[in-house]
C-alpha cells in the first residue's frame, strides 16, 4: 500500500481518475487470463500521454516500486501481473491511432489501441494488418508487441514481430527512446526493436509503434475437413505443407474442443468427429481456386472423413470467430483450464497428437487440444479443478513430460504466449543456461536496476550461472 502522500503526488501528476488504489481495484488488476495467478499491485495508473509515462517512471523510482506495463490483461503467461507488487502502468488510455500512411503502407498508433480497432481502421483505407490473436477484440497493440502475439493467420502472414517497423518507449530510468522507422531496410546498429518485440515488458515500456501494412488478399476460400482420428488430421497438415501449399490459416480442434465450441456458438460442427481442420487459402482469385482444389485433393488422399466448404464470407467469418473462442469455451466444462503453448516442427504434428493422447491416459486427465496446426503450434488444455491438488499435480506432470518430448523434437515451450511467470521453469531446459545468461545480460543493460516487470521470463536477481 502506498502512503497518502504518494497517492496525492500521483493524482497531482495524472488526475484523480487515472490513479486507482482501493483494494477492490487492486484485486481486479491482479490477474490476467493465466490460471492460478493473482498478485496484488500497490497502485494502478493510467497515463494519457507519453510524457506522463516518464513522470510515472520517475515517481516509481523515488518510491522504490517495480513497474509492470499492462494493456487489457488478456495475456496467457502472467506477463502483466505485479508478481513482486509495485505499480501497474496500464496503457489503455494511450489509445489514439496517430497516422495511416498510404504512401508508405504503414500505420502508427499508441500502445493502448485495441488490435481489432486498428485492423478496422486500416481496412477502411483498403489496407491489411494480419496479426489476429484470439483476444483481438480487446487486446492492445502494446501488449501484442510485448508478447509477440501470433494468431490464426500466422502460417502465411507471420506474427506481430513481422509487422513492427518502429517502436517508441521509455526505459526504467526514464530515458525515452525510438528505434526503427518507416524505411523498409534499416541496418543502423543493433536491431533494438527486435529485442523489444517479445520482451514481455522487461526491457522497456512501449508507448507507440509503427506497423507495416500490406494490401489485403482479393479472394479467400474456407474449407472445413472432419477426421475420425487426430493422427490423420496431423498427417493432413504435414501433407499440405509438404505439397508446398501455404494456407493463410490451418487450425485444428479435437473432439473435446469441438463439443465446447459448438455448445457456445451453435454453428453445426460435428460432435462425433475426432478432429477438424479449418483451412483458409487467400490471395489472387485464380491462385485461390487452384490452391483450394489442391488442398481438397490432399485431404481426400489422406482420408478425411468429410470435406465441406464455407458457403459465403459470413459463414467463413463465423467459423473463424468460433475457433477464436476455443480456449474460453473449454472453460465451460471445468472450473480450471490449464493451457499450454507447445510448438513443434510441423512434420512432428501427428506424433505430438499421439503423445498428448498417451500422456492424458497415463495421468488420467481430460485434455482438449486445439491450435494453429499449420504452425505446429498446439494448445493442449487440461480441464481440471484448481481445488483438487492431486489433479493439479498430475496436470503439471503431464506438461512436464510433454515438454521433454517437444524439446527433444526441436520444438519450443512457447509458440506465442510468452514465458512470463507460467513457463519460467522450462526456459532453461530449452535454451540452456548460456542462453538464459545472455538474456540476463541484455536485461541488465536495458534495466540495470531491475525495476521493469521483475520476476518475469527468468529470475533476474540470481547470479549469472555458468554452463554445465
Amino acid at each position: 500500500m502506498l502512503s497518502e502522500n504518494a497517492i496525492k503526488k500521483l493524482t497531482g501528476l495524472l488526475g484523480k481518475e487515472n490513479v486507482l488504489h482501493e483494494k477492490e481495484d487492486l484485486i481486479t488488476f491482479g490477474y490476467d487470463a493465466t490460471p492460478e495467478i493473482q498478485y496484488l499491485p500497490d497502485v494502478v495508473v493510467f497515463p494519457t500521454s507519453s510524457e506522463q509515462v516518464v513522470d510515472i517512471v520517475k515517481f516509481a523510482r523515488e518510491e522504490g516500486l517495480p513497474i509492470v506495463p499492462r494493456g487489457s490483461g488478456t495475456g496467457l503467461s502472467g506477463g502483466s501481473v505485479a508478481a513482486e507488487g509495485g505499480l501497474i502502468l496500464c496503457l489503455t488510455r494511450l489509445n489514439r491511432i496517430l497516422e495511416i500512411d498510404e504512401e508508405n503502407l504503414t500505420a502508427t498508433a499508441q500502445a493502448g489501441v485495441v488490435t481489432l480497432d486498428f485492423f478496422d481502421a486500416v481496412s477502411a483505407k483498403g489496407l491489411f494488418y494480419p496479426p489476429d490473436p484470439g483476444s483481438q477484440k480487446i487486446s492492445t497493440l502494446g501488449g501484442n508487441i510485448a508478447e509477440d502475439a501470433g494468431g490464426l493467420r500466422g502460417l502465411k502472414y507471420g506474427v506481430t514481430r513481422d509487422y513492427v517497423m518502429a517502436v517508441k518507449g521509455v526505459l526504467g530510468d526514464g530515458l525515452t527512446f525510438t528505434t526503427g522507422g518507416k524505411s523498409v531496410k534499416d541496418v543502423a546498429g543493433y536491431a533494438l526493436k527486435d529485442l523489444l518485440v517479445g520482451s514481455e515488458g522487461t526491457l522497456g515500456i512501449i508507448t507507440e509503434a509503427t506497423f507495416k501494412l500490406i494490401p489485403p488478399p482479393q479472394a479467400k476460400r474456407t474449407l472445413l475437413a472432419y477426421f475420425k482420428d487426430t493422427r490423420t488430421a496431423g498427417a493432413a497438415v504435414a501433407n499440405i505443407i509438404a505439397a508446398k501449399i501455404i494456407p493463410s490459416t490451418m487450425e485444428i480442434m479435437d473432439n473435446a474442443t469441438i463439443k465446447c465450441v459448438e455448445g457456445y456458438a451453435n454453428i453445426g460442427l460435428p460432435l462425433d468427429m475426432a478432429a477438424l481442420l479449418l483451412i483458409e487459402v487467400d490471395g489472387h482469385h485464380a491462385a485461390v481456386l487452384e490452391e483450394a482444389d489442391d488442398v481438397r485433393a490432399v485431404l481426400e488422399r489422406v482420408g478425411a472423413a468429410e470435406i465441406h466448404e464455407a458457403a459465403d464470407a459470413e459463414h467463413a467469418n463465423q467459423l473463424a470467430a468460433a475457433r477464436r473462442t476455443a480456449l474460453s469455451a473449454l472453460a465451460r466444462v471445468s472450473p480450471t483450464t490449464l493451457l499450454e503453448d507447445a510448438t513443434v516442427p510441423r512434420s512432428r504434428l501427428a506424433e505430438t497428437f499421439d503423445e498428448i493422447e498417451r500422456l492424458s491416459e497415463k495421468f488420467q486427465l481430460k485434455v482438449g487440444t486445439f491450435g494453429h496446426a499449420g504452425d505446429g503450434n498446439l494448445h493442449p488444455t487440461v480441464l481440471c479443478d484448481e481445488r483438487n491438488r492431486d489433479e493439479m499435480e498430475r496436470a503439471h506432470a503431464f506438461y512436464n513430460e510433454l515438454y521433454e518430448k517437444v524439446l527433444a523434437w526441436g520444438g519450443t515451450v512457447s509458440g506465442e504466449h510468452g514465458i512470463g511467470l507460467a513457463k519460467k521453469d522450462y526456459l532453461e531446459r530449452q535454451i540452456g543456461s548460456g542462453g538464459v545468461n545472455v538474456m540476463r545480460r541484455i536485461k541488465r543493460s536495458f534495466d540495470p536496476d531491475g525495476v521493469l516487470n521483475p520476476g518475469k521470463i527468468f529470475t533476474d536477481k540470481d547470479a549469472e550461472k555458468t554452463d554445465g
Binding site: E24, S72, A265, L327, A329
Partner: protein
Amino acid sequence: MAEKKCLGNFPLADEPHYEGMLQCMRCGFCLPTCPTYVLTGRERSSPRGRVALAKAVADDQIAFTGALKEESFFCLDCRACTTSCPSGVHAGRVMEACRNQAHEAFPLTGAVRKFREFILQRMLPSPDLLETSMLPARLYQKLGIQWLIRHSHLLKLGPDWMQKAEGMMPELYPPLRPQLPEVIPAVGEQRGRVAFFLGCIMTLMYPEVSRQTVKVLTHQGFEVLTPKEQKCCGAPHLNEGDRSTTRQLAQYNLDLFMELDVDAIVTDCAGCGASLKEYEELLEETGDHEKLAKFHSRIKDVSEFLAEQGLRTDVLKPVDKSVTYHEPCHLCHAQGVSRQPRTLIQQIPGIDYRELKEASWCCGSAATFSLKYTSESQLILDRKLENVRATGADLLVTANPGCHLQLAWGLRQANMPQKVVHITELLGMATG
C-alpha cells in the same frame, strides 16, 4: 437464515453460486461488450472484474464492501457479457445476487427503508394499489400541469433524476388490465390459445401498446386469455435485490398460469419475459422441476412466439415506412431472441428495413439505472442515438418498455424525428 453458514464473507445465505464464479477464466472477451467497462475503463466495472470481486468475497479475501455494493448496482444487468462469454459465466446473475447481499450488508434505515419496502413488498405485488397510485400522474397530465412544468424549468430545482423521470413519462391512458376481457376470441380461423402476461409497466404506462399486442395475436388466429389476478413478474424486486419477494411473486404467477390450458404464455415486455424464464432457476430449491421446466418452455416473447408459429401475412396491409430496430438487452442477451423480431418486421409489406449499427448495445435505461446514474446513462444513450441517426429511418422499433421510455426521451431531447414504436404497434399498423 442466521443458522446457515454463509459462503465466505457474504453476509446472507442465497449467495451467488461459487461454481458459476469459478467458471470465469478471465479471458476478457466480455470487456468490449460491457457498457460500463467501455465507459470507465475500470476493471472492477467489467463483468470479469465484478465476478472476481464476488469471488474474492467468497474466498474471504475481502469483506462485502461498499465498492461491491456500488458495482452490483452500477452493472446495467444488460447481459451483453452473457452473450459474449464462451465459458458460460452469468456475471449479471452474480451481480443480481450481490444486490440482495448489499441490502444485508448496508441496511437502509428509517423512512427510506420503509419507502422501499412499501414499493417492493406492498405496492408492486398488488395490481390494484399500483393502478390507483398512477391516478395522480394521469390527472396531472390531463390538467396540463405537465406542459407547464416542462416549460417553466420549475423542476430544475430538484435533483437530476426527478427531472428526467418527469420528462420520460409518456402520455398516460387508463391502465389496461381492468379493461381487458379475460377471454378474447381469435379472429378468423383459430390456430391456438395463449395466455397473456401483462407486465406492470405495460398496463400502466403503455396500455395502448399492449392493446395492439392483443389485437395482433387475435388477428393472427390466437384466442387470448388474460388472467386478472396476475401479479408483477418480480423483475423490479430482483433488480433491487429483494429476492424473497421475487420468489413469492414467482410462485404465485407460476401456480396461476400453470392452471390454464394454453399453448404458450406470451408477453410483450422483454424484461418480464426474461424474468419469467428465470423462475426455473429462482425456484429450483422448491424441487418441482417438471412443472418449472414446463412453465419455462411455455414462456414466449411475442416476437419469438409469432416467428415460431409463422406470421399470417395474407392479413397484413402495407406500411410504407423506413424502420430500424433496437434490441432490448433482456430480449437478445437474456432470452437469445434476436433474429425473430427482424424476421417479423421484414415480413410486413412496404417496410424499408435498415439495420442499426450496434443494435444489441444497451440504451442505458436498464431499469432504474437511468435515474440513478443519469450522466453515465446519457453517455450510453448518446452512442445509441448516433447510430439511430445514421439509419435515417422514420421509426425506431423496440420491444421493451424500459428501452421505449429511454429512447423516446432521448430522441425528444436530441430533437430527432424518429418515433419509437413497439414491434406489436408496427404489426398493429399492418393489421386491419
